[in-house]
Symmetry: C2
Subunit: 458 residues, 2 copies
């Protein structure tokens, strides 16, 4: 019965073979095993080797020992009923992702100018200078030093003056929004803009909370529609509505703040790309007007890159109090190493410099795009003055043909209709993300798009 | 009325001052603003500067322009009702954390042997060699190359043979468990072990799902109690129950697998510290016996450090299918840079070497602890053969006095009672975490603990 080779330690082979025989009921319950010496002699191994195998079988509960008697097979071992196995082939495996030669995506950034060398140098510094601090459990809200830098940044660039203790750092908006739903309460009625970022819709749905879609008028979330429904929390993008690009005017901001000025009503201000405005200064955050009713959220996804997985939110003080008392068991989801590196990156001014560099690059791209598209009279350019995408309106009555033509030509671009969360509106607008297209090939991409529109849509 | 200084650009000051007057209703609705030239002349600035300020006010909706007439204050601006402000002092701010000279914590690791230089070198390599791949959005399940290394590791060390496509990487168990609750369904009835890791209890509670606590007998989760309740999903730690240290014998494993062998029942196997066993080989994972009913979870928290925030789970194939069809909008929460570094760290064998080094170090600690404690006849040593903590049982009838004496002596150690999630059991067991105590000061710590027990508990 014994088949020993030299691929594994002998004790493991003895252990495995006895284990299998017990599981397959080839040994009876309470059957006595050969003594360690007898088995060792017959296998020509040391009794020590057999002992290690028997100890392992004991630890896992396959056998038991009787003092001065020997080792016995465990009794009361249920028959093990194997479950039918699903084959990996049966699964609808990852759909092959079609790659398009002309891709106008909105969830990417320009990666050409990323300061790899600086990031590498700072990582080395952190691994040398912060060794002990680096490896133990961190503050659930994130590294204090990084929160201090973020607070300074918000004060200078977003007109928001807060205490670093109000900031919670998290890896991606999902982590933070999941925490926020728990903090605000699963009994709350949430509302998001329509059209909107689809992932936010899926996220609230996945949290199983009451969710309404509120349409937009020219100024942002429709206040009359909001007032008709019994909403507790709204999630909005006032500085640069996603995807329409509309800036919420001060009149609507005041209306929404006055709406929120009721017990237990809150506004989530999603300030996802406000760093990038190409004329004048950035639109001030809504949170600057009233910190007690607004949860401010921002991300390093657009300023650094999506793969950095660093986001943060600023809690109003009453929510902070509730968080401190009930939710600090949620550990911070961002590795401390990355937090230290970003802290130094911000502290030494590299972050500000990087944003300025990126702003210049995106401005170049916007100028190039608008220059080219202005030559096509049936294309109207809208909201290219901020963020990493713009809207183009096509004078056409054949939008479905137009979308088919894009697909045929290898152009990946979304229609505004793709962002309506209930039903499409027969929109003639396209959402043009340009950040991910290298500046060298932008002209070719834009011309391809415009010529396809010219040929198939007008 | 104009107060200009040189602390900010002039256009920002003009913009800020007009904005404030509009908000404070010092301008009337529809009031005409001075022409750009008139204002520029009176302020002795260029008309261009005034134009930038007016454009910014327009963009934010404070003013509007009438062609060939000029700029006017926006009408219909609601009165802005400021909300009463909570002072940051009113908040129950972070409680000052008491530090203990003798701390037997279970959520820390030994940081003395971490390969900082290797990690730093690999980070540099990744930032040089994977630049483009590094910055764009990653696979929602995590880097494929890293999942391949994890699959190899599970095959060799945990007896689990799976496809890398079944693995999902996440930052911390919270992210993964939150996703898992959504995947399994919020209508499911979950059960956890009692006593257990408190954070898991808080996590399921926060997800608002039905949750039962199931007591342990000598073999792990009590199967009779489980059968009496209508449970769908159990979360267990079979290789090394936390905190009792019990290894689940094969008999109970088979009973639980047979329990799970029903439609829609699942077992979550939390294999949090199985890498560390100091005699024989690691206890095989339950998942090795049946992959179709078990969600396997593991973490790099214990093998690297808590601050790395890298965990993973292995989905059974039917759950993987459901995940692929419905939940891939959850982006991976771990930064891609960290995933690439860990991938190389595993691939080049550094991870295996690090575990072996740590195992030796922890074995030294265990030997030292058991040597010292065996000199104290009223202390019984239990379950120090695996993981990063052990149990000591104190022969005493004065446990509350004992706990007070620890506090007085500056000893931070938890009683088993601290891990019971319903009510304390008047346990005489202490949970002794030793990983975080440097080897140089371990003897002093253990002697202090034993002497305090000798003086106050026996």
């Amino acid at each position: 019965m014994w088949q020993l080779d030299n691929k594994q330690p002998i004790y493991v082979q003895i252990y495995e073979q006895i284990k299998l025989m017990i599981l397959e009921k080839k040994y009876e319950e309470n059957q006595k095993l050969p003594s360690k010496r007898a088995l060792a002699d017959s296998l020509k191994v040391s009794p020590m080797t057999v002992d290690v195998a028997y100890q392992q079988l004991m630890a896992e509960g396959y056998i038991y020992s009787k003092p001065k008697s020997g080792y016995y097979v465990e009794m009361d071992l249920d028959t093990f009923i194997p479950v039918k196995t699903v084959s990996i082939q049966d699964i609808d495996m990852k759909k092959p992702v079609k790659t398009y030669p002309y891709a106008f995506k909105t969830n990417v950034v320009d990666t050409a100018l990323f300061p790899y060398a600086t990031w590498s140098k700072l990582t080395r510094t952190v691994l040398l200078d912060y060794q002990k601090a680096l490896l133990n459990e961190s503050d659930p809200q994130g590294l204090y030093e990084l929160r201090l830098e973020i607070a300074k940044y918000l004060d200078i660039h977003r007109g928001i003056s807060i205490d670093p203790s109000q900031i919670i750092i998290g890896s991606g908006s999902t982590s933070l929004m999941t925490l926020l739903v728990e903090l605000l309460g699963r009994d709350k009625h949430f509302a998001i803009e329509n059209p909107s970022y689809q992932k936010n819709h899926q996220l609230y749905k996945g949290q199983n909370v009451a969710l309404s879609l509120i349409g937009l008028d020219g100024s942002g979330m429709d206040i009359r529609e909001l007032n008709r429904k019994n909403i507790d929390v709204i999630h909005i993008t006032p500085s640069h509505q996603f995807p329409t690009g509309v800036v919420m005017p001060i009149s609507r901001r005041i209306e929404l703040l006055n709406w929120a000025n009721q017990t237990d009503r809150y506004i989530i201000e999603d300030d996802y790309d406000s760093e990038f405005r190409y004329s004048g200064k950035p639109i001030p955050a809504l949170t600057g007007l009233n910190q007690d009713k607004i949860i401010y959220m921002n991300t390093f996804t657009k300023t650094l890159a999506p793969s950095f997985r660093m986001n943060y939110m600023v809690l109003p003080k009453d929510l902070l109090k509730h968080y401190r008392n009930h939710l600090t068991h949620h550990s911070c989801t961002v590795p401390l190493l990355d937090q230290y590196v970003l802290y130094l990156f911000m502290k030494q001014g590299s972050f500000d410099r990087h944003i300025n560099k990126m702003k210049k690059r995106y401005k170049q791209k916007v100028d190039l795009i608008t220059d080219i598209l202005s030559l096509y009279p049936f294309i109207k350019i809208k909201h290219f003055d901020a963020g990493l995408h713009g809207i183009i309106e096509v004078k056409t009555k054949k939008m479905p043909d137009c979308m088919k033509a894009f697909e045929m030509a290898g152009i990946d671009i979304k229609s505004m209709d793709d962002f309506y969360l209930d039903y499409p509106r027969k929109s003639v607008e396209l959402v043009l993300g340009y950040a991910g297209i290298p500046i060298e090939s932008l002209e070719k991409n834009i011309k391809m798009l415009a010529e396809t529109i010219k040929k198939h849509c007008s």
